[in-house]
Amino acid sequence: GAGVSQSPRYKVAKRGQDVALRCDPISGHVSLFWYQQALGQGPEFLTYFQNEAQLDKSGLPSDRFFAERPEGSVSTLKIQRTQQEDSAVYLCASSPPPRLAVHEQYFGPGTRLTVT
């Protein structure tokens, strides 16, 4: 079946613009995670959902970052008034229910955001 997909794959934004990044998880996966990967670094956790509930948003770097998953499937990460330090690859991952495969996170290809 299809894996996790993300769109757009590349996004260039002028500083101050708002952007929206989309994640389509694997069908049936209840958990969805967003990570930020700066150049030369490992992914860092931003937020995660179980179905439509946002269970943890402690990794969001500022109130300019907002994520939603209204129907428990597709998720959108929105960044308002983008700054240069927001330039990174944003990775989405999804997981099946824990009873099936604990901690099996399947990653999408990421969206590379460049803020100029």
Partner: protein
């Protein structure tokens, strides 16, 4: 808080040579441990994972890793490297059970020379 250290930023090996990538973690209990590989422009692919039981785990693409509690380590090994193994490798830890966020190391970039 959990943390993961990958001491080597960049490693270069010859094709056919053996490989060991180091990973140390900090966590109070036995964590869930993972190795992921990331090729340029690609997402992360799970190579292997350790939850419990046998401390030597086998993964895909001929990789294996050994969990050593006394050293808080989970090193990745491969007996014979192929040019296609050139990529970035990330060690990660997850606390407890259930689906919780992963904590990643900064990664080790592997270059393979002929």
């Amino acid at each position: 808080a959990q943390s993961v250290t990958q001491p080597d930023i960049h490693i270069t090996v010859s094709e056919g040579a053996s490989l060991e990538l180091r990973c140390n973690y900090s966590y109070g209990a036995t964590p869930y441990l993972f190795w992921y590989v990331q090729s340029p422009g690609q997402g992360l692919q799970l190579l292997l994972k350790y939850f419990s039981g046998d401390t030597l785990v086998q993964g895909i693409k001929g990789f294996e890793a050994e969990f050593k509690r006394s050293q808080s380590s989970f090193n990745l090994r491969k007996p014979s490297v192929h040019w296609s193994d050139a990529a970035e490798y990330f060690c990660a830890v997850a606390p407890g059970s259930g689906n919780t966020p992963l904590v990643f190391g900064k990664g080790t970039r592997l270059s393979v020379i002929a």
